[in-house]
């Protein structure tokens, strides 16, 4: 075991190199993106569900919606407050949130998720009239 020192040095260098990204970016966490609400969204105050629920679980809502609309031909969503909404990404969600770039994309980019909704669903019904 004559090269014990070299082995320990090697392990130390390896650990430093592997953890380098963490050292390098220490204390510089990217701030959570700020979402912009359109005037219409602000005016409505309440989304389909509560704000916390939507922030966390909007994908579940959309998944339920697409299943109900496409497969069961049920197109009306009644929220816990008893208010009715037409289940449509392009026509209901994006009617208020007509700023996809500042509302949807910012968070999706931050979380590095790439939903392919907009391959088919037209992103902003009111972009041009």
């Amino acid at each position: 075991m004559g090269n014990k020192k070299l082995v320990y040095l090697g392990i130390a260098i390896f650990l430093v190199v592997v953890t380098l990204p963490f050292w390098f970016n220490r204390g510089k966490a990217a701030p959570a993106p700020e979402l912009v609400l359109t005037a219409k969204a602000k005016e409505a105050k309440e989304c389909v569900r509560s704000k916390d629920y939507m922030a966390k679980d909007h994908m579940r809502v959309l998944d339920l919606w697409r299943h109900a609309v496409v497969r069961n031909a049920e197109r009306i969503y009644v929220n816990p407050q008893g208010k009715e909404y037409v289940m449509s990404l392009s026509n209901t969600c994006l009617d208020c949130h007509s700023n996809k770039a500042e509302f949807c994309d910012r968070c999706h980019n931050y979380a590095s998720v790439r939903p392919y909704c907009w391959d088919c669903h037209i992103d902003n019904p009111k972009e041009t009239k």
């Binding site: 339920l64 969503y77 008893g82 392009s90 391959d119």
Partner: protein, 266 residues
């Protein structure tokens, strides 16, 4: 400390009891919480939605004279559904189109028929068969027959683009998106209320399910000025049943047993 067998068995017994009461108490607690919390959200059909056991269409071929009678219907459909117009014929996407009589009805070997019928094109579309072979072919259930209204629907979210349904459909009613269709839709005519499709999915006529849901008739029927009639095949009082009863109608490739729901008055 020495423990007797009896002590250990007692300990086991008490532990088992303690573990089994937990879930029971939780269940009681959950039930109480449910009564206290706000109502659960739910989904339903729109109040104005048109309903039928099996939607069907009757095409009155006598009322179609030339190409000009077809184009407004085809345009109305293709415009509201964002159907692209691709320049290459074999990549063409079509929901509703025309075919010559001998192509639309290759199994009806009628000789010496009325020349007008023989030479005027016929309007063809998805037949929304009562026994649809495309649905049986689909490995992902992306295409399915809606049990409530008989419409053979496409769920583009599930389509993997295998094209088994296209091979299975005897009417050529399905088109495959070989390329992204968006660049081939005229931006001025884009219907922003309706999605486009993406590369790699199969599409076809949906009997305007989205219009029926809000109480409107299909776009082609609305644009046809009575040349097409739409209604419930299983309602004996419906207009389609009356027309089928009082006229001689044929269906495409009836011998295959798919039970098409589009009837042609000839």
């Amino acid at each position: 400390m020495e423990r007797s067998r009896r002590d250990i068995l007692k300990l086991f017994g008490i532990s088992a009891l303690a573990l089994s009461t937990g879930p029971v108490l939780d269940a009681f607690a959950a039930e109480q919480a449910e009564h206290g919390a706000a109502a659960e959200p739910y989904v339903k059909m729109g109040g104005k939605a048109l309903k039928a056991q099996q939607w069907a269409m009757v095409v009155d071929t006598h009322k179609f004279e030339s190409e000009e009678d077809f184009t407004p219907l085809i345009d109305a459909c293709h415009k509201i559904h964002n159907v692209p117009s691709l320049p290459i014929k074999r990549q063409e996407i079509k929901w509703i189109w025309t075919a010559p009589y001998h192509n639309a009805f290759p199994m009806s070997p009628m000789k010496f028929i009325d020349e007008k019928l023989e030479h005027t094109p016929l309007l063809v579309l998805c037949n929304h068969c009562e026994n649809p072979p495309c649905v049986r072919a689909c490995p992902t259930n992306a295409t399915f027959k809606n049990p409530d209204n008989g419409i053979v629907m496409m769920d583009f979210h599930r389509c993997i683009g295998c094209r088994f349904c296209m091979a299975a459909c005897p009417f050529g009613a399905r088109s495959f998106n070989f390329r992204d269709p968006r660049p081939f839709i005229n931006p001025a005519e884009l219907n922003k209320q309706f999605p486009t499709r993406t590369k790699g999915v199969v599409e076809k006529c949906n009997f305007c399910a989205e219009r029926l849901a809000v109480g409107q008739l299909p776009a082609c029927v609305e644009a046809s000025n009575g040349k097409l009639v739409f209604g419930d095949l299983y309602d004996p009082e419906s207009k389609v049943r009356e027309l089928i009863r009082t006229n001689y109608t044929i269906r495409r490739k009836q011998a295959l047993g798919t039970e098409p729901a589009v009837y042609y008055i000839v």
